[in-house]
Symmetry: none
Subunit: 398 residues, 2 copies
């Protein structure tokens, strides 16, 4: 629902601590990663606050990071589906123009039969990525300008800007999402994207030729084709001056899209917390993104994810010191290390504020949160709850 | 949401075990029927899997079997409301044509004042039903062909096929749903169903005359007027080759409507399980329907429902032997024997698969499931969850 008519002016500050891929499943009798981790500070927040399980999109749906974060900020992730290409572009300060088609690229490795053997080309380092992107910049296409930017490791950004008619962006991924299959041909899902598909096809043919002699990165995969969407900012939606503490491009991108100030900080927690301290007095809504929980989950590293959670827990007192009126701790989706991928499992969430109704939950973990006072709720409601606990919403109706 | 863009090819098999009317309410301090029953095999599945409570339509809404099953198969039961007449027709292999109006009929008993004293005419046997239907086939109406088919016990099917203009099917039931009241006059809910109401009125007048000398079945009640809806098949919706093991017409009908192969089997569990074994290798999605839990609930027979649940539990190992990748056990609605009718109480559900997050629930029962890891969820999400656990869905968004 539109919260605008309910907004109240307030100085109250809201802190969202988002541990990417936080949720897990149990493995080897130790419970989930969050349950196995020693988390005295998060447990304390859970004890003082109220807990639950949040599903970012819908039960059974595994969210990408884009939909996962949009839901956290209160935007319906099905209604507002943003391509990864657009998010990546925003995250590396590439100025997209309306109508530009952006896609996320991965360098990958093909075998001699043209089958993908590594979708990430051994996660080549950013220097190698930069060198290869420089080579791909030779590519010329009729009727469009081609922009390429290295991102990080094996990832790069492709932007097509038309010199003539408008381009559609309804294209399927060329990434087959598994090894042992060839890259897919670009396929248009609507009439207006047919021309774009032909251009992308030509781009890929030239890229294949240029990279033929390289090892391991001898081809590219493209996904997340899209164009700049129009989204209301946090200021417009909630009257909040938002600020993001996020080291990774993707999350910086989505923050910028929602009109948040994106602080300059590294991807490590210390750097983010220093930036948080610096930004504190200037903003109402502060979003701190912690990536390692997801990365270790994706690696299938149970112990690594436990350690990442413990690192986050250890940093919690430095955040509490800032005296936020409302703290929300949750994730944008689950990434169980037992599955080494994002998953659909609902995400544990805690809200800590003076106005929480205690729910008897003593520890922050999936099993405990399943019986928490927030119940099992769509993640998009968390922002409304945060605003309520911050005293920023008046009653609905008389 | 449309799952089609997320579907992944897979060989994983999903088994839905639907105990009709499974949910109950406690009675005499022994808990619900499910809680009173000895169910070691279901408890074991609950312990290994994840549990919750499902509401088929919405909190407080008592579902008919049609909406209850549509929800289980992932179709919104409010958006897709199918009349019982149509389901019955499908269940006895009557070939409905688009535009036909179908209704479910009951033989009933009226007293000398024309009040219903038994809505089921003492549940006359199928032979008697067949004889009476034969008599009703004398009925002739202007402008429509009248088809009548006996179903089972006191139930029959009425189909009106227009020889001229299209017929509406927005008619209220003539069944007053209680004794001590006369049958209702057919009432059209929209303009285009006025003509149909007149025809039905004439049909009922002739039926009353023909049955006047019969005992106990001296009148008919009609309900569930409807026309063939267009529903996407399980193959179209989820890429699943579905198969139904269901002895009762109603459930065979809805399965056929969703493009499932309906196996030839009796209404008893043994016959269904033999058919399940025979069908196993040919399908991805197998739906086994167990009727006795509902029948005993409708009879108000607590012990009988307990025994039915124990019979189902006893058969579980024969299903597990087939090694489904995902098992879902639930009901299409609750039928508490204390109420002797369908009810709105949410239905216990368990999902067992390798990717379940354990939730600490040790037994399969309503009280335990209320704290389970699935929370309280609309039943229409169960299909999405089953697909997720089967590895048949890729992530949504990037």
């Amino acid at each position: 629902m539109d919260l605008n008519p309910l907004l109240v002016e307030s100085e109250a500050k809201i802190l969202f601590v988002i541990a990417d891929g936080l949720g897990g499943i149990d493995s080897g009798g130790r419970g989930t990663e969050l349950e196995a981790a020693r988390t005295p500070n998060l447990d304390q927040l859970a004890r003082q606050g109220v807990t639950g399980l949040a599903y970012p999109v819908a039960p059974g749906i595994t969210p990408g990071s884009g939909p996962g974060h949009l839901a956290l900020f209160g935007y319906d992730p099905v209604e507002h589906n943003i391509g990864r290409g657009v998010l990546t572009a925003l995250g590396i300060d590439v100025d997209l123009e309306p109508g530009d088609v952006a896609a996320r690229g991965n360098f990958c490795t093909l075998d001699s039969h043209g089958q993908v053997v590594d979708r990430r080309a051994g996660r080549i380092d950013t220097g190698e990525c930069t060198r290869l992107v420089e080579m791909l910049r030779e590519i010329r296409l009729d009727d469009v300008e081609v922009y390429l930017e290295p991102v990080r490791e094996h990832r790069f950004l492709l932007v097509l800007r038309s010199k003539k008619e408008a381009l559609g962006a309804q294209l399927d991924n060329t990434d087959p999402q598994r090894t042992g299959a060839p890259p897919r041909e670009p396929h248009a899902r609507d009439e207006s994207s047919q021309a774009t598909a032909s251009m992308v096809s030509e781009f890929l043919a030239q890229a294949r030729e240029i990279l033929a002699g390289e090892d391991p990165a001898n081809m590219v995969l493209l996904r997340g084709f899209g164009q700049l969407p129009r989204l209301a900012s946090l200021q417009e939606s909630y009257g909040l001056s938002g600020c993001a503490l996020a080291g990774y491009p993707m999350y910086r991108g989505i923050s910028r899209l929602l009109g948040m100030k994106v602080m300059d900080c590294g991807p490590d927690l210390d750097s983010e917390i220093e930036a948080l301290q610096a930004a504190w007095s200037h903003h109402d809504f502060l979003f701190l993104h912690f990536k390692d929980t997801d990365s270790r989950g994706e690696d299938g590293d149970f112990e690594g994810k436990v350690a990442a959670i413990e690192e986050l827990d250890h940093a919690i007192p430095r955040m509490i010191e800032l005296q936020p009126d409302v703290i929300v701790v949750t994730g944008d989706h689950s990434t169980p290390s037992a599955m080494a991928s994002h998953s659909w499992h609902p995400v544990p969430v805690l809200i800590s504020a003076n106005t929480c109704r205690a729910d008897g939950v003593e520890v922050f973990g999936e099993t405990a949160c399943a019986g928490g006072g927030l119940g099992h709720l769509p993640a998009k409601h968390l922002m409304t709850l945060a605003l309520a606990h911050a005293g920023r919403l008046r009653k609905f109706g008389a």
